[in-house]
């Protein structure tokens, strides 16, 4: 329920209050189009060097290759940790790096 204030802020023991949050400045971004298959596609691995992501990615590679033998991966080693002190610079570099490496999709990990 919203109301316009008459400026007084309080009347008859009642308070007219505003909300405390700031305006959102990030517009909604449509997600990239999903792939039709993983065969022939290049998937980038992004890792924050936490929570045994190296083992997880290794296991995922095996399983995904079982189903999609022609899938290619760009290892997390190519990019370095996404949670290090240079995090902002690294993330800003990704669009160009993905272009240069022919990346079609990315898996970013690990969180808990």
């Amino acid at each position: 329920m919203t109301k316009k204030s008459n400026g007084s802020g309080q009347g008859g023991g009642l308070y007219e209050v505003v909300w405390p949050c700031g305006e959102r400045k990030q517009a909604l971004r449509p997600l990239a189009k999903r792939l039709d298959t993983l065969n022939g596609k290049t998937i980038a691995q992004l890792w924050d060097y936490l929570f045994a992501g190296d083992e997880v990615f290794s296991a995922l590679e095996e399983k995904l290759r079982d189903r999609y033998p022609d899938v290619k991966f760009v290892s997390w080693r190519e990019f370095g940790s996404t949670h290090a002190v240079n995090e902002k610079e690294l993330l800003a570099s990704l669009p160009q790096r993905f272009k240069d490496l022919g990346v079609d999709a990315a898996i970013s990990s690990m969180a808990c």
Binding site: P20, C21, V85
Partner: protein, 443 residues
């Protein structure tokens, strides 16, 4: 999962798909983890790569001055609590009248943005600062400090986006300058305890600002395992510092002595160093250095690598009598920092066990880090695992403050969250008519 869902909204992608690992990788063997990844996670990854998620829209939000609710004190608080706008304590209802009182203590325009804050990518405006200052129970005259705090919060070097991280660290706010006395901040006995309105309410404001201006809420974007609540503001004892010729923290942070400043730094935890005994630094400092070293445990990963190299900034707070006793021997604050660098050390085996066995922040070895040129030689002067190594890269990495009970021989040390809350300082801008208004208030 809920953090991923909440964070992706702030990034403009509320429908960003995630895949899960059952349980927690930290307590699974490698075989269990790989089996879970293959049997559970892989299928979700495939679906996320191939199936287009449905578009989502966000609910419209009010504008800044729009009245969103009208009710009694209790009704306003219930309304705010249900919407996670309050911290669970009663808030002062933010009416337009109260907000204008706060705005009268800054020359900045209400709609001026002090920065865009993650994780929700919201603009932190002067208006928003005033709203949350009202809610926190601050007095209007604290407004210049609140504005400076949010400016510091928005400084990229601080890393506000890490404020909901797993360790649940909380911010230490250090206040310097004549404003301490202008506004009757406590800077002596019990300086870190609630009880003085300025210290307490400004500390509370900080967490409300993180909640409402940045977007950190428990079980959503704030994933502290345990967490800490707000710290009351620590005001330095500048009289004591002046008597012994030590600079205030404002100078250490690059400002001029006599400037009003706030410094923020995220600290993982702290401990009191009780009953420091001795009449010379040589007698007193070994105990203090030992306590400072022991307060840093896993946080060493911010010095030696895996998370960062050299971003650890441990804090030592000396009571005035301890500082005076040390200074009486001719020691400067820099001498204290140098002593801490030389003596607040930890065994190499402890560092390597912490990083490579007890936690999941491996570095290989200190020897390897030195050989790769990542760490200085001080971290590998021999292969003796019992050799003592520094906890920081250089003496200036320590923050030394003077506050607390002037006549108690206690000190306090805080461990630090490294680059995930790196110290940031801001000068406090006062309105043109500050001096007159403070004088009028004191009459």
């Amino acid at each position: 999962m809920s953090q991923a869902a909440a964070t992706s909204v702030g990034l403009g992608m509320p429908n960003l798909p995630v895949a899960i690992i059952p349980g927690h990788p930290g307590v699974q063997s490698v075989e269990e983890l790989r089996t879970n990844s293959r049997n559970v996670t892989a299928q979700q990854v495939i679906e996320n790569l191939l199936a287009q998620p449905a578009e989502q829209k966000l609910a419209p939000e009010p504008s800044a001055r729009e009245i969103v609710f009208r009710g009694t004190f209790e009704e306003v608080n219930a309304h705010f609590y249900e919407r996670e706008w309050s911290d669970g304590l009663p808030v002062v209802p933010p009416t337009l009248e109260k907000i204008e009182e706060f705005l009268s203590f800054t020359d900045r325009a209400p709609e001026e943005s002090l920065g865009i804050l993650l994780p929700e990518n919201r603009a932190a405006t002067v208006w928003g600062v005033a709203v949350n200052g009202v809610m926190a129970g601050c007095r209007p005259q604290y407004m210049p400090i609140l504005v400076a705090l949010v400016e510091a919060m928005a400084d990229p070097i601080y890393g506000v986006e890490h404020s909901g991280n797993t360790p649940g660290s909380d911010t230490l706010i250090v206040l310097n300058g004549p404003i301490i006395k202008d506004l009757d901040f406590n800077y002596t006995q019990g300086v870190l305890r609630d009880g003085f309105m300025p210290n307490t309410s400004v500390g509370r404001f900080w967490r409300l600002a993180l909640r409402n201006l940045a977007g950190f809420r428990l079980h959503k974007n704030d994933k502290a395992t345990f967490g800490n609540t707000f710290r009351v503001v620590l005001a330095e004892n500048e009289e004591a510092l002046a008597k012994i010729g030590w600079p205030p923290n404002s100078v250490d942070m690059g400002h001029a002595a006599g400037d009003n400043t706030v410094t923020i730094s995220r600290c993982t935890g702290g401990g009191v160093i009780v009953s420091v005994t001795g009449s010379t630094p040589q007698e007193m400092m070994p105990y203090i250095a030992d306590a400072v070293a022991k307060q840093t445990g896993w946080e060493i990963v911010f010095t030696v690598g895996s998370l960062s190299i050299g971003t650890l900034r441990p804090v030592l707070v000396l009571s005035p009598i301890l500082a005076q006793t040390i200074a009486r021997a001719g020691w400067s604050k820099d001498d204290v920092k140098r002593y801490l660098y030389e003596h607040a050390r930890t065994p190499a085996w402890r560092v390597e066990t912490l990083t490579d066995r007890w936690t999941d922040f491996p570095i290989g070895s200190l020897k390897q880090q030195v050989n790769l040129g990542r760490l200085p030689k001080a971290f590998h002067e021999s292969d003796d695992p019992n050799r003592l190594v520094p906890i920081v890269l250089e003496a200036d990495d320590f923050m030394v403050l003077v506050s607390g009970d002037p006549l108690r021989t206690n000190a306090y040390t805080f461990a630090h969250n490294g680059y995930l809350g790196f110290p940031a300082a801001r000068k406090i801008a006062l309105p043109k008519d500050w001096s007159e208004r403070i004088r009028a208030m004191r009459k």
